[in-house]
């Protein structure tokens, strides 16, 4: 499916509801009863409304791991961290996006070029990245 095709589907969705069920010819449509709502990205991405926030990734060091610079990161603060998860952490007065690595009960954070070990009271996992949206 090309990007153009996807775009026209999403744009068309705004008018879509008015087209469904149009009786142009006086007899029932063969698809009557099978229509569905259309793909709603909101339902796909924003599962827990109270804990989901959007952040903008400003650096390129996570690109090799799959998160490009400038991407919109959808973060769920209620999700539990798991090994290899992408997380937003508060570390030394900054919000950082790093991959979470757990081993032997210890934890560390890495990106394409460095490793960070948690500092007591200065490091905290804020949330887990559940989706990454990049526009081209």
């Amino acid at each position: 499916m090309t990007t153009l095709h996807l775009y026209s589907i999403i744009k068309g969705m705004e008018y879509r509801d008015s087209y469904i069920g149009q009786k142009m010819s006086g007899f029932a449509s063969p698809s009557q009863g099978y229509e569905e709502q259309g793909i709603d990205l909101n339902r796909l991405i924003f599962k827990n409304l109270s804990s989901t926030y959007c952040f903008r990734l400003e650096t390129a060091e996570m690109a090799d791991l799959g998160l490009p610079k400038g991407a919109l990161l959808v973060v769920d603060r209620s999700a539990s961290p798991y090994n290899d998860a992408f997380g937003i952490i508060r570390h030394e007065n900054n919000f950082l996006c790093r991959q979470i690595k757990k081993y032997n009960g210890n934890i560390y954070f890495k990106n394409g070029c460095e490793i960070i070990y948690p500092i007591v009271n200065e490091t905290e996992i804020i949330g887990i990245v559940t989706a990454c949206i990049q526009e081209f």
Partner: protein
Amino acid sequence: MVFHIDGNSFYASCERIFRPDLYHTPICVLSNNDGIIVALDSECRKLGFKRGDVFYKNREKLKKHGVAVFSSNYTLYADISARMNIIYNRFAPEVEIYSIDESFLFFPDWENVNYSDIGFQIKETVKTETGIPVSVGIAPSKTLAKMCNKLAKKHDGICDWNTVNQDEELKNYPVEYIWGVGYSKAKFLKKHGITTAYSLKNYDLIKAKKFLTVNGYRTVQELNGIAAIDKIKEKARQVISVSRSFKAPVYEIKDIITALSEYTQEAVARMRDEKLSCKFISVYLMTNANAKGDQYFNTLSAELPYLSAYLPEIQGVANDLAKKIYRPNYKFRKVMIALTGLDYDNSRQYDLFDQSCKTKENNEPLMQAFDTINNKYGRGTLKLGCGCLNGNKPQEEGQDPWKLRRDYLSPRYTTNINEIPKVY
């Protein structure tokens, strides 16, 4: 069982969520037009500042102590508040939103249930999902729950009425702090020797009804653990008013009309939100009573021939009223519009001589389209022509003398795609 939950230093806590660099910094939040301090966190309070301190008088002192100052970011606070209430609704069968940072949760009276545990879970969930620290008061009535909430600040944030020494706490609680006891009731009570919640709890109910009105009577019942104060019934509003003080003095009638146009649009939008129409319009115009120079305060009202929710009509009347009370050479500081005589407009019967029924049929769809577009694309997307009397210049801060001063406004982190927080 009633839970009363409120955010600790709510506005200040909201400002901290997306500022990891301010986690250990004192924060305070200012009122409209950056006038006075309306919210401070505990660090800021320890430095000696309090609610009501005038900002410009304390500016240097705040800077010296490294306090981070913010203008009120209502958009952000409303969004965070909505998230908290979504969480409350997950836990409790019934939730009553009392204010932007306080809610009452109602649970059935279960046996063998540790309500403190539930309170703790709610507190943890809110902290994890929104970053806001809350306090929880748990009691059989709203008044006691509110009291417990205050006591909770000393009990790790949760206070269950069943676990405290009730008489002891009531004896230590001054009567004027009780929810529902205002200045005049407190004065009366103190005159009759009732100075603590304990003595009010034991006050004769018949005397309470006689001297403290039915609300005072209910408060005494609530102090005895009887839930007497009902959920606030949805009542139609009596008046809708919008007013702001201008950032700088305004002299020209066209600036006043432009400001009035924005406030009228807001008032009519709020009125239409509740499906109401208005019969009376009042406009108030005033100078700053605290400033030097000639003072002017005036107001004028008009009655419409029929209930209306049609913006151009209401705006036209408001503009006429403003022009009538405007006087040149005064430093105007504030204009206000009030819509009263609010009612649901179900009338299909019009005056015998009323030519308006035809136009009414056209007006309503126009207003609905107007409302829908402004709701979808943002308030102010469409406005009346008199809202653009300054030539349609792009919205620059400082251009319009009557815009709200909010010099320390933080980004709309959670509601505007261009203002979302950055990660590195």
